[in-house]
């Protein structure tokens, strides 16, 4: 039997056993024993953020860019409530993170003690699971279980709430290997009969499409590899959601670009007109389906998803396959090859002809300007000047996020971190911090709008403290651009509260934090300015002053089906009809 340890020692030991090398956190009274243990060791690095929301987003960025579980540590009460937005964000986007929170001692719970909050109650709906640990004996096994739940099946955030007396008390440590095996063991292998049926459908399809999503990224690098092979084998066109970008390379010949509300014309029309839709790890989100009744009316639909509740939630499918993407694709490829199957090449070639017609519409065209930087142009230049580099991109939320998805290309998974499901302004900067911690020598850029960026700007302090050379690429339109666009489309151009007024001087702000600031407003200077940003060894705020009233197009107005897209040269005034107006 090992010698007894305190709860706080067990926590640090359990994190080490789980392979954790970095924790993002912020101290307070209820976690002091844990901070003391962190002080006494060197294996786990602690990154002191400036706000607990940022700790959680940083853990998300770390997790999404590595495939590992991210960890955040917060104190009781306000520390825990500040973590709620990050937890909800991770739940919506299926990001595996473990948040450890301090709690008032067990004997004071329920007394409205100082900095007491019902943390498990508050976070129950925004975690995959959470625990309040009431005795030290179960502490280490609970932490091991927490990691297991966060990473298994459909990944997600979990929280372990640990009262201070439990951190002080002693007990015996349960190592990872000895922790009791959980009954929570989601099924990974898909149903073979159904996979065979899908192989048959692939052989006969005339107008097929792969619609892939975040589940491919969640499943790991093998899934992306298998997906590429399957696309190669079949020659079918492929599109992806915002969350799945990079699983299939943007430079790949079958790539149609992103689909959905701000997706590409050819991708959306192919989804609308297909006869076989193969959904791989995507969840028929409302940004994708538009009006559900008119969604891809003529297709047979297959859906590969590890979460049974994703199946038939929004769209009824003909071939549900519950399992992990990599496992199912491996079986599918094996069945496909063993039968020496061929696709209906003639029909598929005709389908490609049709798709190539749609491509000619060139839906991402925009009218460039000699005098003003267009946001699309800024991203095109950033893409050109960073191509081939070891690059990771995060974003904030708004027009800039959608332009980034449209104009940047991702050739590998885990390179693109964005808040999709919750759409959390303030996500990108701390997420970039987490990415840079995990990939010390890589180029990490946060594509931001000025309004989103201000929501977690305090983290510049963290970046400077830890020498994190993240580049903040702010497309500054002095507007809450996405809101302004909707007001133009929906509310007669009455721009209620959608102006970013009294903005700081971003260059001075950067300097005040001890970082470098660059401002650019002339398209002719842009390349040099971007190069200056890239060449600087340290954090940079790049204030890119762009066209103020540019609209992000193409766009499927809310409440409309896929084949009713607004293209760059169409009129946007009152483009959203009354029934669509209630939708978000």
């Amino acid at each position: 039997m090992t010698q007894p340890r305190t709860g706080a020692q067990m926590i640090v030991q359990a994190l080490k056993d789980q392979g954790v090398d970095v924790v993002f956190g912020y101290p307070g009274g209820a976690v002091l024993p844990i901070y003391d243990e962190i002080f006494l060791q060197n294996e786990i690095r602690h990154i002191l953020v400036r706000h607990e929301q940022a700790a959680v987003h940083a853990a998300e960025g770390y997790a999404r860019s590595t495939g590992k579980v991210g960890v955040a540590l917060v104190t009781s009460g306000p520390g825990a409530t500040n973590a709620v937005t990050g937890l909800t964000d991770a739940l919506m986007d299926s990001i595996p993170i473990v948040v450890l929170s301090g709690q008032v001692p067990t004997f004071m719970i329920g007394n409205d003690a100082f900095q007491e909050a019902d943390t498990v109650g508050i976070t129950r709906p925004c975690t995959k699971h959470n625990w309040l640990v009431k005795d030290t004996a179960s502490l280490s096994s609970t932490i091991h279980e927490a990691f297991h739940v966060a990473r298994s099946g459909r990944p997600g955030p979990v929280l372990v709430d640990i009262p201070k007396d439990v951190q002080f008390a002693s007990g015996s440590y349960t190592p990872k290997q000895k922790a009791r095996t959980s009954h929570y063991q989601p099924k990974l292998k898909g149903d073979t009969a159904m996979i065979e049926q899908l192989a048959d459908a692939i052989a006969t399809a005339k107008r097929p499409i792969f619609y892939t999503g975040g589940g491919v990224i969640n499943s790991g690098p093998a899934a992306s590899q298998l997906l590429r092979e399957l696309v190669e084998q079949t020659g079918f066109p492929i599109t992806s959601t915002l969350m799945g970008l990079g699983a299939y390379p943007a430079s790949g010949k079958n790539w149609l670009g992103m689909l959905g509300m701000h997706g590409l014309y050819e991708a959306n029309l192919a989804m609308h007109g297909c006869d076989l839709m193969i959904n791989v790890g995507a969840r028929f989100d409302d940004r994708i389906t538009g009006r559900v009744q008119d969604f891809s009316p003529k297709s047979k639909k297959a859906h590969i998803d590890i979460d049974p509740s994703s199946i038939n939630k929004v769209i009824h499918v003909d071939m549900p396959i519950i399992g992990d993407v990599a496992h199912v694709l491996e079986d599918l490829l094996r069945i496909w090859k063993s039968k020496g199957r061929k696709t209906n090449a003639e029909a598929v070639a005709k389908w490609w002809d049709q798709i190539n017609e749609w491509k000619k519409v060139d839906c991402l065209q925009y009218s460039n300007s000699e005098t003003t930087i267009k946001p699309q142009y800024a991203l095109e230049r950033l893409e050109a000047l960073t191509k081939g580099r070891d690059r990771y991109i995060t974003t904030e939320v708004g027009q800039h996020q959608m332009w980034a998805a449209q104009y940047l290309g991702f050739d590998e998974p885990h390179r693109w971190m964005t808040s999709g499901g919750l759409g959390t302004m303030g996500y990108g900067q701390p997420a970039a911090m987490g990415v840079q911690i995990a990939h010390k020598d890589s180029l990490v850029i946060n594509i931001a709008g000025e309004a989103s960026w201000l929501m977690n700007m305090q983290e510049m302090g963290t970046m400077v403290q830890y020498h994190l050379p993240v580049k903040q690429f702010i497309l500054n339109n002095e507007r809450l651009g996405m809101v302004r666009q909707w007001q133009e489309l929906l509310h007669g151009e009455r721009y209620s509260q959608s102006w970013s007024e009294a903005l700081p001087d971003f260059v001075k702000l950067a300097e005040a934090f001890g970082a470098k600031g660059i401002q650019c407003s002339d398209p002719k200077d842009l390349d040099d300015a971007i190069m200056e940003m890239l060449d600087y060894d340290g954090p940079v705020i790049f204030d890119c002053l762009v066209e103020k009233h540019e609209n992000c197009l193409p766009m499927i107005p809310s409440g409309e089906p896929h084949n009713k897209m607004l293209l760059p040269n169409s009129s946007t005034k009152d483009a959203i009809a009354a029934p669509g107006a209630v939708l978000v």
Partner: protein, 185 residues
């Protein structure tokens, strides 16, 4: 379409192929959910129903295996077939949930509920209440000179019927447990 090969009785049990998912008729289903008997598990189940806007007609819970620390929650809910499928899948996602059984589609089942009725009255009404209680096989568990307390077990419909009869006879108070249900055989 070939049926999903999912172990019957597992939380992944599904009836996709049995009913029309697009039907918009409202069905009433009795679900049995086996859960770890741990703090907060009931809050998770109830939070799921309120958070996603599902209906609960009745809900009962008690530990059924003391050594294994498991409880059985019986939920009667209503919804379209698609909503009922979602409810089952969502319940299956809750980490401490071991199994979800849809007793309504898994075959015949027995459903029982227990209720206590306090009926206050004198004279003929008192006699009539006692006579009807006998017909319904309700037991008298407490009596005073001015009231009876009856205990009755049966299907929810039977208890509804008994309540209707007691109302004009001086029904003063009533307590119901909600449905407990088991598959037959």
């Amino acid at each position: 379409m070939s049926p999903l090969k999912i172990k019957k009785g597992s939380s992944r049990h599904s009836a996709y192929d049995l009913r029309d998912p697009n039907a918009d008729v409202i069905e009433r289903h009795t679900l049995a959910v086996i859960v770890d008997n741990e703090a907060g598990v009931l809050a998770r189940v109830i939070g799921l129903f309120s958070g996603r806007g599902y209906n609960i007609e009745s809900l009962t819970v008690a530990e059924i295996d003391h050594l294994g620390h498991t409880s059985r929650i019986t939920i009667v809910t209503t919804g379209t077939p698609a909503v009922i499928e979602q409810i089952k899948a969502q319940l299956g996602r809750i980490v401490p949930v071991h199994e979800v059984h849809d007793l309504t589609v898994e075959g015949a089942c027995v459903e029982r509920e227990l209720a206590l009725f306090k009926v206050a009255g004198e004279g003929d009404k008192r006699v009539e209440a006692l006579r009807l209680a006998d017909v319904f096989r309700a037991n008298v568990v407490d009596s005073t000179l001015t009231s009876f307390t009856f205990e009755i077990t049966g299907s929810p419909e039977k208890i509804d019927a008994f309540a209707e009869l007691m109302r004009p006879l001086g029904l003063a108070e009533m307590a119901r447990t909600g449905v407990a249900a088991l598959a037959r055989g």
